[in-house]
């Protein structure tokens, strides 16, 4: 097991992502952050508060559970459904930024796009991920990445966040081959 991102690394990465989001969307007025539970939701909250600090305004932030939209439900044990909370502003004609902890096959994001499509029609949908570990199975790429981590498929990436796990850390488990 090796530590890929320490707590200060994570903090710096989220700060950078926040600035990039503001830059790309020319301010915070139109953006809605939607975190994918569980850890993506906390990351979205953190980005929202960083942006608020920078811009001095409240940022629309919610959660988008994708469980019911997964394409592998037949194969896996059912997961408990996590809350989906859309901020009062809605998503219609907004710039929605999906936030997840790890970008891997891209299937979670495909499910999230399906889920989002049921809720409304944003102007743009963008993707922020703390870690991009490669091995995409779908034509999906992140707009904002905390860190690119080259991994082998047999390895797993573990993200710890203080809200859930008591500390911040990203590590890689298993041997590279």
């Amino acid at each position: 097991m090796s530590v890929a991102l320490s707590a200060p690394d994570i903090k710096r990465a989220l700060t950078r992502i926040s600035h990039e989001i503001l830059e790309k969307n020319q301010g915070a007025s139109s953006i809605v952050l939607l975190g994918i539970p569980t850890r993506g939701a906390h990351l979205a909250q953190r980005i929202a508060s960083i942006i608020s600090e920078i811009e001095g305004v409240e940022i629309s932030c919610g959660t988008l559970d994708i469980t019911l939209f997964r394409d592998d439900l037949r194969l896996r044990a059912p997961k408990a459904i996590m809350p989906t909370t859309i901020p009062p502003s809605g998503v219609e004609n907004r710039d929605v930024i999906l936030v997840d902890d790890v970008l891997f096959s891209g299937r979670t994001i495909r499910s999230a796009l399906d889920a989002l499509g049921e809720i409304g029609r944003p102007r743009t949908v963008q993707l922020a991920a703390l870690v991009d570990r490669g091995h995409r199975e779908l034509p999906i790429k992140a707009d904002f990445v905390g860190k690119n981590l080259p991994t082998s498929k047999s390895q797993s990436v573990r993200v710890l966040l203080s809200e859930i796990d008591g500390r911040d850390e990203v590590s890689i488990e298993g041997e590279a081959n």
Binding site: I36, T38, L68, L75, R76, P78, K79, I81, I86, E118
Partner: protein
């Protein structure tokens, strides 16, 4: 979990997770999302060998909101009414590739027979079997009670529920006694002695013959339907006398606790077990039971058709 046949097969944790799932599904489908792709490509058969429009459309709506293909196989006009055996029907459903069968049947144990036999391999959901059980009704009742009186808790600890009426012939009562007790509620059965089964002492519920002595102390009054045919079978002298002792009218309702609610699984006999004023009063959550039925049945189908047991946590 592969089948839902009896509340007795559910652990407290499983029951609560179905209620929690239903809660999230209700929020999703109350919002902008009307249709979820969750069960796309799966086939659910509603096998209704006994008439029950309300339960059938509730299951049908639940399945359709989850994008399942629904085939309705009801008693009238189908081979079930022409004396085809349950076995042959099951083998037909198997051949049609049913992933789940929602069965309503006048014979107690019919759902279990279907599940235990080698006749078909899909999941079986008991939508009411004879005078045995009606587990989805109990789950939606518990869901409704928790929503109104649960104070944010996951179970029903500390609540008192009276189930009033024809307990002997009621599958709703059997499932509710098991589920409400499992969730920590105190259950009192109120009925004339003729309408309580011999052996009721072994149920996790107390028994009273006196509605008036029970009503001021309960948080929920759940009324049961009195079937017309009970009148001719001498379970009580006549409808008027039944109504006088075991009906819920506005006078009786006045002695209910503040905040206590009135439930009925439907269809109601207005004027017999429940008066129109009570059914339409602000204490009545009867139409809400119907609404909640869809979310709870979505949760049941979700849990059964996505295989394995419910695990906690996202990602």
């Amino acid at each position: 979990m592969r089948h839902l046949l009896s509340i007795a097969d559910l652990s407290k944790i499983e029951a609560i997770s179905i209620l929690d799932t239903a809660n999230e599904l209700a929020r999703v489908s109350d919002g902008a999302v009307k249709k979820l792709p969750t069960l796309r490509g799966r086939t659910i058969v509603n096998l209704f060998a006994e008439d029950s429009t309300r339960t059938r459309i509730s299951f049908e709506a639940a399945a359709k909101r989850l994008s399942a293909d629904v085939i309705n196989f009801s008693a009238k006009g189908s081979s079930v009414s022409k004396g085809e055996s349950l076995k042959d029907t099951a083998m037909t459903l198997q051949a049609m590739g049913a992933d789940a069968v929602v069965i309503r049947h006048s014979a107690s144990g019919a759902a279990q027979r279907l599940a235990d036999s080698q006749w078909m391999s899909g999941s079986v959901v008991n939508a009411g079997d004879g005078t045995h059980e009606h587990p989805s009704q109990a789950l939606l009742d518990a869901f409704t009670i928790r929503k109104h009186l649960g104070l944010g808790k996951s179970d029903l600890e500390g609540l008192s529920v009276a189930i009033v009426g024809d307990v002997l012939h009621s599958r709703v009562a059997r499932s509710n006694v098991l589920l409400l007790a499992k969730l920590g509620a105190k259950v009192t059965l109120v009925a004339p002695p003729t309408l309580l089964p011999v052996g009721v002492e072994s149920w996790p519920a107390s028994v009273s013959y006196d509605f008036d002595s029970v009503i001021p102390f309960v948080d929920v009054v759940m009324m049961l339907r009195v079937q017309q045919e009970r009148m001719t079978e001498m379970y009580f002298p006549n409808a008027r006398e039944y109504s006088r002792y075991f009906g819920l009218n506005s006078d009786r309702m006045k002695s209910m606790k503040p905040g206590a609610i009135v439930m009925h699984p439907g269809p109601m006999n207005r004027g017999l077990e429940i008066s129109a004023e009570v059914a339409d009063s602000s204490r009545s959550v009867i139409t809400e039971q119907v609404t909640n039925g869809v979310s709870v049945r979505m949760a049941i189908l979700y849990v059964l058709l996505t295989g394995g047991s419910l695990e906690a946590g996202g990602n």
